[in-house]
């Protein structure tokens, strides 16, 4: 574990130096403990691949005191049972108007489009963390064979439910937002709804699988 002040009111806690299941497990354990403990000065917890950013009330504690508390908590996580993972299945209609970049990805990687889809649905992904926008889960690890860079200029609007890929990651856009990932399909599911509890369909620590559906199935699901 490594600590780094990120601002006058935040501390970065690094729990590993490499993206993967082992570091993710350490992030999840510390997160669970932080969410359970009533810590007065704790204002926000922002987990990511290998780190947790802690925002604290700097009028109550300084970086050294926060670091001491986190070290002690991290020690206690070793006694916790392994974190259990929920499995979420996401139906996706690939290509066509829903996946405008599918053919580009196929061409870039010298693969037929169905092979790109096949490689996208093969793994069970980890929801490493949520960021960017409410409910936006960073899912990994995407197969190296279909890893592509982001768009040079992000789209001004990406439709809600769009499934994008970037580097070794994939994600679903929960709302219509700007977006720079390559879009290969769309899900009819509403990933984030404010009138639902929980609002987000995918939480940190979940496992996610994609299932291909036809356009007719997509439209039927939307009507339901």
């Amino acid at each position: 574990m490594r600590f780094q002040a990120a601002s006058d009111q935040t501390l970065l806690v690094y729990l590993g130096e490499e993206i993967g299941a082992a570091t993710h497990e350490r992030v999840m354990r510390l997160l669970r403990l932080l969410q359970r403990e009533p810590i007065q000065w704790l204002r926000n917890i922002q987990p990511a691949y290998c780190s947790i950013l802690i925002t604290f009330d700097s009028s109550a504690v300084d970086h050294a005191e926060v670091q001491a508390t986190i070290s002690e908590l991290e020690n206690r996580t070793k006694k916790l049972p392994p974190v259990s993972h929920r499995l979420v299945e996401v139906p996706v209609c690939y290509g066509g108007e829903f996946g405008p970049d599918l053919d580009w990805v196929a061409e870039q990687r010298g693969l037929p489009a169905d092979k790109v889809v096949e490689l996208h649905i093969a793994p069970t992904y980890h929801a490493y963390f949520l960021g960017f926008a409410p409910g936006f889960a960073y899912l990994g690890d995407l197969a190296q064979e279909i890893a592509v860079p982001r768009l040079e200029t992000p789209r001004k609007v990406v439709a809600a439910g769009s499934v994008g890929i970037a580097g070794r990651q994939t994600a679903i856009y929960p709302q219509a937002t700007p977006g720079g990932w390559r879009l290969i399909g769309r899900t009819p599911l509403e990933i984030f709804r404010t009138d639902r509890e929980p609002m987000g369909m995918i939480a940190i620590g979940d496992q996610v699988r994609f299932r291909p559906i036809t356009q007719a199935e997509f439209l039927a699901a939307r009507r339901a």
Binding site: Q4, A5, A6, S7, D8, Q9, T10, L12, I19, L31, Q35, R43, N44, I45, Q46, P47, A48, Y49, C50, S51, I52, L53, T55, S58, S59, D62, H63, F129, L130, G131, F132, A133, P134, G135, F136, A137, Y138, P174, Q175, A176, T177, P178, T194, M199, G200, A203, I204
Partner: protein, 313 residues
């Protein structure tokens, strides 16, 4: 409850309070007033809760009709507010009689003016806050900026208002600055000597393409010592991240909660309200302070803002 009718909305007018901090694990950034100090003072002058929801106007204000009247206070930038051709002073409560109109124009100084109303602006609560998050279309008034024809609920007109007044000198202490104090960012060491020097001594201009998500700062190119790949991590509000082309972006209240660009510095908590008052084309500078100094400034600022005795006559 009484009503407020939006006759014209201005450039970008949204409902804001102190935001919804604490939902980072869900990917939700806090949002909230860009100048939380102005919002607080405006509300306290009306004896509202410090974080009561108010309208945040940006660069150009709107025209608002109060069919049932209201008690209001304008705080922050001077948008030349008028009622019936009479100028309304900032930083003091005013009674608006039923059927009267408040008209605001273009800014004369800073970026944001807050229209606070006694009793607050009533919108549905989302994750514990009334703040609009424009990027994701959540919270506030239908998740969007106000438009002509919108009708909002507000607190009722009460004629027995106490004329609270700020103590002389308070506004001087809280005045938004163009020199922002920063502490070192987590990747400070990744940057070249020149970049670190440029941050301390260079001038940066706020790009037109700036908003509540972030401010693009044009100025000296901030180069890294070598091209290192960074793993995305949580980014604090006020972080100055640098893109591969050397462009500095200051993350603000509607920021993406995580990011993969290295961060050279971070604006201190005490100076964040100054960021909310920056206009496009403003020239800003940075001054590095230690974590200890930043903490002392924050403790002092919190004391001042928490003390009605020190704020008001």
């Amino acid at each position: 409850m009484s009503l407020l009718v939006v006759e014209s909305a201005g450039l970008q007018t949204t409902v804001q309070d102190f935001g919804r901090e604490g939902y980072g694990a869900l990917g939700v950034s806090a949002s909230g007033a860009a100048d939380a100090v102005a919002l607080r003072i405006g509300n306290l002058l009306l004896e509202n809760k410090a974080g009561a929801p108010a309208l945040e106007m940006t660069l150009t204000g709107g025209t608002f009709l109060f069919p049932d009247g209201a008690v209001i206070c304008l705080a922050g930038a001077n948008f030349g507010a008028q009622m019936d051709g009479r100028a309304l002073e900032l930083w003091r409560p005013h009674a608006i009689l039923p059927g009267k109109r408040l008209t605001l124009g273009a800014t004369r100084d800073f970026a944001r003016c807050y229209l606070c109303v006694a009793g607050g602006v009533g919108v549905a609560d989302f994750m514990g806050s009334a703040s609009t998050h424009l990027l994701s279309g959540l919270g506030g008034w239908e998740g969007r900026a106000l438009r002509k024809g919108d009708v909002l609920q507000i607190g009722s007109l009460q004629m027995n208002i106490r004329r609270r007044k700020l103590r002389p000198g308070v506004l001087e202490i809280l005045k938004p600055e163009k020199k922002l104090r920063v502490t070192r960012g987590p990747q400070f060491d990744w940057f070249s000597e020149e970049a670190r020097g440029a941050l301390e001594n260079g001038a940066f201009v706020v790009n037109e393409d700036s908003n509540r998500v972030g401010l693009r700062l044009d100025g000296p190119r901030l180069a890294m010592r070598e091209n290192a790949e960074m793993i995305s991590e949580g980014a604090p509000v006020g972080a100055i991240q640098v893109t591969p082309s050397g462009q500095a972006i200051l993350l603000f209240v509607e920021q993406q909660t995580t990011g993969g660009y290295p961060k050279i510095a971070n604006v201190i908590g005490t100076d964040l309200h100054s960021v909310g008052q920056l206009r496009p084309r403003d020239t800003i500078r940075f001054e590095e302070v230690s974590l200890v100094a930043a903490r002392e400034l924050w403790i002092e600022r919190k004391k001042l803002l928490g003390s009605e005795e020190r704020l008001f006559e």
